[in-house]
């Protein structure tokens, strides 16, 4: 391991993959243009494994269209190269102007779950302190918000997996609700080999193929399914009454909604045979060590937080959470999807999961930031609501985007694109010319994964060091340098926005001290010494995380849950249909998701030749009967339309989808954006959009010339 070093002969750097929340450990070697990657054999999460995205990640460093200079929209409408000072002065000047004319909330910030902890932290601080705006949210809202809302309510704390990934190795049974790790985080499957899997997914995914039992509910019905499973847990006598009595509260109120969900009724609503529901509950309830894990399939709905709550209720009734060898968890998606949701780039949060609405939390963070708590803005709009308000009367007129590509990844994409176009000022920091960058007034080229230091917090709540193997190319700055330069131009002190990640980390340790996600006992020194530290990890009495510090908390809830009385909460929830059900005009369910060879909006992976070869273009998967019914053939072009818009995609006929459902991956740009047909329904608690179910029709489309 080279630590932070770029020195030495035979130079190697141990770091982590740039993509998903599994954060496989990798070793980089070679120089720019010839960087090689290999998986670390000894990192417990990937154990020498890596998927094709990870193996080919160095290609992104050498992307031919890498952004190497700032770009400013010229009078003729094109994006033209500009110097850094010119670009930064322009941005700061316009921001100042817009703020002066329309108020601080006229400037908004949109962050990302792929940003390091240091960047996410600084971005939140930049918004609240340098811009003074309440209008900041991030793309993790589209990812983890439903699970976060539900598990915070249930356990008092949201850590995706409140236990190490390796605990899954010993499981007898694992229920995966709307999760497809075989295609979204393949090396995780190495930890699921010993268990019988119960997979809930409308599609027969590669994960479902590995399942002992595959339940195939119709899209939008997972909540009814979960209620039915709890119903059966009771009627089959599988409830762990002692656990319910001693470690939880609120069972009765949650159960009362389940009385209406007897298995045969659940079967009618979900399409899952009552018999299979019973088998699933018996498998889970009969196992000595069992886990319930949710993924985006259960979460990305206008009832996503209630759906997760229903699965938490099931896990609680069976006595799983907070027990060695069993548990409940959610599989976080983005690379820093966990850290990104704790560091204060979310509309209602301050670092460490502190709340913008809590006076004590505000006071603590304000003291660390050296500002008066009264100057901190309150909670702002959630991601979709923010995008939807851009350029409208009451909404922001300027937007700064870091680590996100909402033109592709936001729901109701055509509308969001139009909102972005209506802005007075759009600033995008990215390392490749993403679809969002293409709309920007100013594009700022920033460093990427193997060119920067920092930390990320993986799906198991372990804080990991990202290490620079290369220096950024000339002309490219780090996000921290960009935020520093802008903050100074906006009148902030240079010391308030450090550019060295280690300094930022030391500050975020103080900001998170005593909070739910407490990083104060973690330091670069401890991480570089190879310690495996899961938060919460409070500092010792000396406030110093080094040396014999707190060992971290691999398993969070073994003794108690994070509510004041130590008990987990059941949440009373009931089923409701999706915002829009199929009807005569839009007779099918349209669902969106991922393919193995692409990542998120595809801005990175669509620039890797091997991945493009594996998944070259947007497809629409449909059952052969569905293709026949709508006059479509394998390989032909189809239009997938909803009331919100239409996506063009190539037909792939497969029996892996239900005849009433079509599936479109969301990684592709332009007319192939799956989000052209997704809508604006939001979860009332988490503000999660309904990515997973739309009512659509499919029709033949001519080949474009």
């Amino acid at each position: 391991m080279s630590g932070e070093g770029r020195a030495g002969r035979q130079r190697e750097s141990t770091t982590h993959c740039p993509y998903c929340a599994l954060q496989c450990s990798t070793v980089l070697s070679g120089e720019r243009g010839g960087v090689a990657v290999r998986p670390s054999a000894d990192f417990p999460v990937n154990r020498g494994g890596l998927c094709q995205k990870g193996w080919t990640a160095p290609s992104v460093l050498a992307a031919p269209d890498r952004l190497l200079t700032p770009l400013v929209r010229a009078a003729d409408g094109t994006l033209a190269p500009a110097g850094w000072d010119e670009a930064l002065d322009l941005v700061a000047g316009r921001l100042r102007e817009i703020r002066a004319r329309h108020g601080a909330d006229a400037v908004a910030v949109f962050g990302g779950g792929g940003l390091t902890n240091e960047k996410a932290y600084t971005l939140g601080k930049f918004a609240r302190v340098a811009l003074g705006t309440s209008q900041i949210d991030y793309n993790g809202r589209f990812c983890m918000s439903s699970a976060a809302a539900a598990t915070t309510a249930a356990f008092g704390l949201d850590r995706g997996l409140p236990f190490p990934v390796t605990d899954l190795d010993g499981a007898d049974v694992i229920l995966l609700a709307g999760a497809n790790p075989a295609e979204t985080m393949p090396p995780l499957m190495r930890h699921l080999e010993g268990a019988d899997l119960v997979v809930i997914d409308p599609r027969r995914t590669r994960t479902a193929e590995r399942a002992a039992l595959h339940l195939r509910p119709a899209p939008g019905t997972d909540l009814a399914l979960a209620l039915g499973l709890l119903h059966l847990a009771v009627t089959e006598g599988l409830v762990d009454q002692e656990y319910v009595d001693t470690r939880t509260a609120g069972f009765d109120a949650a159960w009362e909604h389940c009385t209406a969900w007897w298995p045969e009724r659940v079967e009618e609503v979900t399409g899952v045979p009552a018999d299979e529901l019973r088998t699933a509950v018996r498998m889970l309830g009969g196992a000595r060590r069992a886990y319930v894990l949710t993924g985006r399939g259960a979460e990305q709905h206008s009832k996503g937080s209630d759906t997760v709550a229903a699965f938490v209720n099931l896990a609680l009734a069976l006595g799983l959470p907070g027990r060695d060898g069993s548990g409940f968890g959610t599989l976080t998606g983005q690379g820093n999807g966990q850290g990104g949701r704790e560091m204060g780039q979310k509309a209602d949060q301050l670092p460490g999961y502190r709340s913008l609405a809590d006076p004590a939390d505000r006071a603590h963070v304000a003291a660390v930031w050296g500002v008066d708590a009264k100057t901190l803005p309150g909670p702002g709009r959630s991601a979709y609501e923010l995008l939807d308000a851009l350029g409208t009367g009451a909404g922001p007129r300027a937007l700064m985007v870091f680590g996100a590509n909402p033109v592709v990844s936001a729901p109701r994409a055509a509308h969001v694109t139009e909102r972005l176009r209506s802005l007075d000022l759009l600033v995008v920091a990215d390392f490749v010319p993403s679809e969002t960058a293409a709309l920007a007034d100013v594009v700022l080229p920033v460093a990427q994964w193997a060119e920067e230091e920092g930390t990320l917090t993986s799906l198991e709540g372990r804080v990991l060091r990202r290490r620079a193997h290369l220096t950024p190319p000339p002309g490219v700055r780090t996000d921290l340098e960009v935020l520093h330069a802008l903050a100074v131009r906006l009148g902030q002190s240079a010391g308030g926005f450090p550019v060295r990640p280690r300094e930022v980390f030391d500050e975020l340790r103080r900001a998170s001290a005593g909070a739910r996600a407490d990083y104060s006992g973690i330091s670069y020194a401890r991480l570089d010494a190879g310690e495996a530290l899961h938060w919460p990890c409070p500092a010792g009495a000396d406030g110093n995380g080094a040396g014999d510090g707190h060992p971290g908390t691999p398993r969070v809830f073994l003794d108690r849950f994070a509510h004041p009385d130590g008990r987990a909460r059941f949440t009373p929830v009931d089923h409701r249909p999706p915002a829009r059900e199929p009807d005569a005009a839009f007779p099918l369910y349209g669902t969106t998701g991922r393919v193995l060879a692409q990542y998120q909006s595809g801005a990175q992976t669509r620039r890797v030749p091997e991945l493009v070869a594996a998944a070259p273009e947007v497809i629409v998967e449909m059952h052969p009967d569905t293709a026949r019914r709508f006059g479509l053939a394998e390989g032909s072009m189809a239009e997938v339309g909803s009331v919100h818009g239409t996506t063009r995609a190539r037909v792939r006929v497969t029996r892996a989808v239900r005849p009433d459902t079509v599936f479109v991956p969301f990684h592709f740009p332009g007319a192939g954006r799956a989000n052209l047909f997704t809508g604006d329904a939001l979860d009332p608690r988490s503000r999660m959009p309904e990515f997973k179910v739309s009512a659509v029709r499919v029709t033949p489309a001519g080949e474009r010339p």
Binding site: G49, C51, A182, E267, R629
Partner: protein, 460 residues
């Protein structure tokens, strides 16, 4: 304005009150129930009787505090002129809108000895309508009277607990209103296999405590007699109030009786000549009425419903003929009988969709066919797979071609692996180094190993 008063303490009344609160009904909402406990889910009483649920587990979610709940109170009269109801404790309650949700009561067959006086069942005889009816059974065998859906469910549930059960039914087959002879043989086999003594084509002729005498003279020992002989709409109050009653309280498409201030929903109501008999129907009517009373008026259009007897471990569904019933324009009847596996299915199709049908025995076929029928979706091309419950998606076919992807995580084809093998990568580790196969999820390790073995075998 005076509020909505709902008479009844069951799931229909509960759902209506909850929805009126949710939809923001501006006036007060009161629920007047005769039973001493707050509303509970009657549909699950069978589970209490067979011991899988405690009676106190049936309580429905608490209604919002704004809803006034009166329990253990009977309504003795409706004063339509003054728009008020009278209660048996002497109180009077005015209403702006009155909703009758009084449900149904068990029908008692005319068998000497079952009743000690009209409306009063003899010792050892009960019907399962209220939680109080679910007290522990007496010692000795249970005689289930009635072989409809409820009778079959009850006999199945009790026999599963080891209880000795006999079932007496006047028709020559079970569930004759819903099943033909061929289909009905299957549930009969299920019950017989659990030791239920079936007495089909027989009537109970007389009951005396401890025994039932059949019309052919057989005597059945009976610790308990359970009446599963249907229900009658509880419509006495409506009748006494001068409202039209046929099979139930007659309502129009807005679920109104002849008095525009009085509505009826659930098992006590008769809409378009049909009295509802399931809780799902009652909830559907509660939903419609709640919308209509909160300004989102739309006529009641009964949704399709399946009859899905609850016989855990053995599955069947009956799909009633869909409206409009025009037998002449159906396009096909498909049937399947697999006696060995105990599967039976019969579907009548119209325009490639299910018009009516029955599926028995295959859990997945029951689920799949129910959903297609309920949502009026086209049946799949492979009807045999649908009806047998075979999963078409799982079918594999022989040796994979060379362009088959073996390692999906790294997009490695069989051909790429073969090529690497011929270049000298002769084991799993070498193939992993050469192609990256097996380095992702590890799921293809076995396939890669077996390919190695096959190639070794093929090489001299």
């Amino acid at each position: 304005m005076t509020g909505v008063v709902i008479v009844g303490g069951g799931p229909a009344a509960h759902r209506l009150a909850a929805l009126l609160a949710r939809y923001g009904h501006p006036g007060g909402v009161s629920v007047v129930g005769a039973e001493p406990r707050p509303p509970y889910n009657r549909a699950l009483l069978g589970s209490v009787l067979d011991g899988t649920l405690d009676a106190d587990r049936l309580t429905l979610p608490a209604l919002p505090a704004a809803v006034r709940q009166l329990t253990g109170v009977r309504v003795t009269a409706v004063d339509r002129a003054r728009r008020a109801i009278r209660l048996d404790d002497g109180r009077e309650l005015p209403y702006g809108v009155l909703v009758l949700a009084t449900g149904a009561r068990p029908r008692t067959p005319r068998v000497p000895g079952l009743q000690t006086q009209p409306g009063r069942l003899a010792d050892g005889v009960r019907a399962v309508r209220t939680a109080a009816d679910c007290r522990p059974l007496s010692e000795g065998p249970v005689v289930v009277v009635g072989g409809g859906i409820r009778g079959v469910e009850t006999a199945w549930a009790l026999s599963g607990t080891g209880q000795e059960v006999a079932l007496v039914h006047p028709a020559g087959q079970l569930m004759e209103r819903h099943l033909d002879m061929v289909a009905a043989a299957l549930p009969a086999e299920w019950l017989a296999a659990r030791g239920v003594a079936l007495h089909l084509g027989r009537r109970a002729a007389e009951y005396t405590p401890g025994k039932v005498v059949l019309d052919d003279g057989q005597v059945l020992a009976a610790g308990t007699v359970l009446l599963c002989t249907g229900t009658v709409a509880e419509s006495a109050l409506a009748r006494a109030s001068g409202l039209e009653v046929r099979g139930g309280v007659v309502v129009d498409d807005l679920l109104r009786t002849g008095d525009p201030h009085i509505h009826a929903i659930g098992d006590c109501a008769e809409h378009a000549g049909t009295t509802g008999t399931t809780v799902l129907r009652a909830w559907e009517q509660a939903e419609t009425l709640a919308r209509n009373l909160t300004g989102r008026e739309r006529p009641y259009a009964p949704e399709r419903r399946v009859l899905r007897p609850r016989t855990p471990g053995r599955d069947m569904v009956v799909l009633p003929p869909a409206a409009p019933v025009r037998p002449d324009d159906t396009d096909a009847t498909v049937s399947l009988l697999d006696r060995a596996r105990g599967h039976h299915a019969r579907l009548v199709l119209r325009g490639g969709r299910i018009h009516e049908g029955t599926v028995i025995g295959s859990p997945s076929a029951v689920a799949e066919v129910s959903r297609l029928y309920l949502r009026d979706e086209p049946v799949p091309a492979d009807l045999l797979a649908l009806l047998t419950g075979a999963d078409g998606t799982y079918a594999g076919d022989g040796t994979p071609p060379d362009d088959t992807v073996v390692c999906h995580c790294n997009n490695v084809t069989r051909k790429a692996l073969k090529d690497a093998w011929h270049r000298g990568a002769h084991d799993e580790a070498a193939l992993a180094r050469a192609t990256r196969a097996t380095t992702g999820c590890g799921g293809c390790t076995a396939a890669v190993r077996s390919l190695c073995t096959a190639l070794e075998g093929a090489t001299p």
